[in-house]
């Protein structure tokens, strides 16, 4: 695993070493340059300091000359008349002034001067200068070599101290129960950690909301499931006690109603749970609204005639396509339709319509029922909410399912009074489907 501390140490020590060695080279070159100038001056001075008539007698006078300097003097007849080192000699070079030559596997710096027709040649090995420059550089860099380990230790300590709160957070989280979604303390944290902790707290808050919504749902569902089961159990016990066949038959008919109600509730609960947990149900599916409306209205023709409610459809644009899952949208439309049927008295009418307004595809269900009072319109999409005085059959989940599916399709639902003034009109406006963008 990557460790911030280890990474920091590696990079910092690498960086410091690189910087130190570059500085060392720079100092070395600078020092060598300065040493060159200095030694050249020294060579020149040595030449100048030689007596006017150099001869063998002068040799002894110049004994204190530095050993690494070789002085040679030739007379005009090219005869070596003086050398500071009898054991060793360089040939005579012709060019006057400073020059660098290679002889005896060594680089030499020469200064040659022609004085009173004698040739004075002062030589010094370059290695002398390099050694001096190197020792200068090493001396300047010595503190750095002490600094590197000190810095590394310091870095290790700082990193450990800065990351200590992280360890604290890890321990706090480790001790927590899975249901404890309280925010982590974000006081006195380094800036970088505070950002993470705040993001984490934000996420915990959203998770808490989602979980409490889930808990509410389970509590609601448990409560709502008990009612049809109670009705079922009571009716079962009543039917068991029936004294006549007629009573028994009536009891069985009621048992059927109650079982159907329980089944319907369970189905609606499952539908809702499925659509709430679905993540990306829309995908790239498309649905033709016209076809859907025709299909569903023929499915419900029998229900309509049984309830003596007129079911009409208007599909002026049969080829309106929306982005959406056909199965989900079928559930949406069925729930809208069932809601309309449940609230429309016999002799009333339910109207299904697909239209397009300013490019927005709209699915519209209008009934001639009791409508929804304005103050309840915000709440009808809540699970299990029923309008006060609403005795129509139903689970209280239909519109919650509709809202869920609409949200997944980024569709907007609006509730209005029916244009006739009697009943409710529900419109679902879908985002326009751009064919070119999806081919």
């Amino acid at each position: 695993m990557k460790s911030i501390q280890r990474q920091l140490l590696w990079w910092l020590s690498g960086g410091i070493l690189l910087a130190t060695s570059s500085a060392g080279f720079a100092i070395y070159y600078q020092a060598r340059h300065e040493a060159n100038q200095l030694f050249d001056y020294q060579l020149q001075q040595t030449a100048l300091s030689l007596p006017a008539h150099v001869d063998t007698a002068a040799i002894h006078q110049n004994e204190e000359l530095e050993e690494d300097i070789l002085i040679e003097v030739w007379n005009p007849q090219d005869k070596l008349i003086y050398t500071s080192n009898r054991a060793f000699s360089l040939p005579r070079y012709k060019q006057q002034g400073f020059q660098t030559v290679r002889a005896f596997d060594e680089d030499w710096r020469l200064y040659i001067e022609n004085r009173r027709r004698n040739f004075i040649q002062i030589a010094q090995p370059l290695s002398v200068r390099h050694e001096l420059a190197a020792s200068l550089a090493i001396r300047s860099l010595a503190p750095f070599f002490l600094l590197v380990p000190a810095m590394l230790i310091l870095v290790a300590v700082i990193v450990q101290r800065s990351l200590a709160p992280l360890e604290g957070i890890a321990q706090t989280l480790g001790k927590r129960s899975p249901t404890d979604l309280q925010a982590l303390p974000d006081q006195n944290l380094p800036l970088e950690l505070a950002t993470i902790v705040r993001a984490l707290n934000n996420w915990l808050e959203r998770l808490d909301k989602a979980l409490s919504a889930q808990r509410d749902f389970i509590a609601d569902a448990a409560h709502e499931l008990r009612s049809p089961l109670t009705a079922l159990k009571l009716q079962l016990q009543l039917t068991e006690r029936a004294k006549t066949d007629a009573q028994r038959l009536a009891g069985f008919a009621k048992l059927h109603d109650r079982i159907n109600r329980a089944i319907h509730l369970v189905e609606q609960l499952l539908t809702l749970a499925r659509h709430e947990s679905a993540r990306n149900p829309v995908a790239d599916d498309t649905t033709a609204l016209g076809e859907l409306v025709q299909e569903i209205s023929s499915d419900y023709a029998a229900t309509a005639s049984q309830k003596q409610v007129g079911l009409t459809t208007t599909v002026p644009f049969p080829d309106i396509i929306v982005r959406g899952n056909p199965h989900s949208l079928r559930i949406l439309l069925k729930n809208l339709l069932e809601n309309a049927f449940n609230h429309t008295p016999a002799g009333g009418g339910v109207h299904l319509q697909v239209c397009q307004e300013q490019g927005t595809p709209i699915l519209r269900v209008t009934d001639s029922g009791c409508g929804i009072p304005a103050e309840s319109r915000q709440r009808v999409f809540d699970r299990f909410y029923r309008c006060p005085g609403d005795n129509a059959p139903g689970t209280g989940l239909g519109l919650a399912i509709v809202k869920n599916i609409a949200d997944q399709h980024q569709a907007c639902i609006s509730l209005e009074d029916a244009p006739s003034g009697q009943g409710l009109q529900i419109s679902v406006a879908f985002p326009p489907y751009n064919t070119s963008a999806h081919t």
Binding site: S227, L229, A231, Q237, L238, K254, D257, N391
Partner: protein
């Protein structure tokens, strides 16, 4: 015995009403909190079966208000809320018992009998006076050691009279206890039942106090 059923679920209400009728109780069924308050204004009921989640006014509010003005009926809460805190709240608001849905019909009926017994200050499960013994649980009647066949109404009428032996019960009171709202009462039905009972029990068993009502003797068997 007259019961008020407060239940908003039509299916539960329907089945409960039928079950209670079968047990010879007079039952009035209301479906919301406000109607329950209206019904409770008159002191007609021996027992109230109260659902908590009601439209209009919540069951607990109805109960609290009823107990505040010293409503005497026994109250049995029937609810889907099963948390212990809900039960405590229900009982502390003045309920006599608490039953969680879905419940067993037999248990409900037994609890109703127990509450009615307790309310009338009886310890025995059977009602008895002047040689007549009534068992509300089994609907069996024994008169002077012999099993007696009684119709549901006859049984109900005797039950009301035997709750308070020796006391005079008015005709109007008897009608209230025997009939729910939606049952037609013919002007002389109580007299008809009294007449039939006198045939079975002898003319002296139920005494007619002219202009006041009827009573049975308080003497023990």
């Amino acid at each position: 015995m007259r019961l008020l059923l407060v239940e908003d679920d039509p299916m539960i209400g329907e089945s409960l009403e039928e079950s209670l009728h079968n047990e010879n109780y007079a039952v009035d069924w209301v479906r919301d909190g406000h109607s329950a308050e209206l019904a409770l204004e008159h002191d007609l009921y021996d027992l109230v079966l109260l659902d908590l989640g009601l439209p209009g006014k919540q069951g607990l509010e109805v109960l609290t208000a009823y107990r505040k003005r010293k409503g005497p009926a026994a109250v049995l809460i029937l609810t889907a809320r099963d948390a212990p805190s809900d039960r405590v709240k229900g009982l502390d608001s003045g309920a006599d018992d608490y039953l969680i849905k879905p419940f067993d019909l037999d248990e409900l009926l037994a609890r109703i009998r127990a509450l009615l017994r307790r309310k009338s200050g009886r310890i025995q499960t059977e009602l008895s006076s002047a040689g007549l013994v009534l068992n509300p649980a089994t609907h069996e009647a024994v008169f002077r050691g012999q099993p007696l066949h009684l119709s549901a109404r006859e049984f109900g009428l005797l039950q009301v009279l035997l709750e308070t032996p020796g006391e005079v019960v008015s005709r109007a009171r008897l009608e209230e206890k025997l009939y729910g709202w939606n049952e037609e009462i013919e002007s002389n039905t109580v007299e008809v039942y009294i007449h039939m009972l006198r045939k079975k029990l002898g003319t002296d068993f139920i005494k007619n106090v002219r202009g006041v009502g009827y009573k049975v003797a308080a003497s023990p068997a």
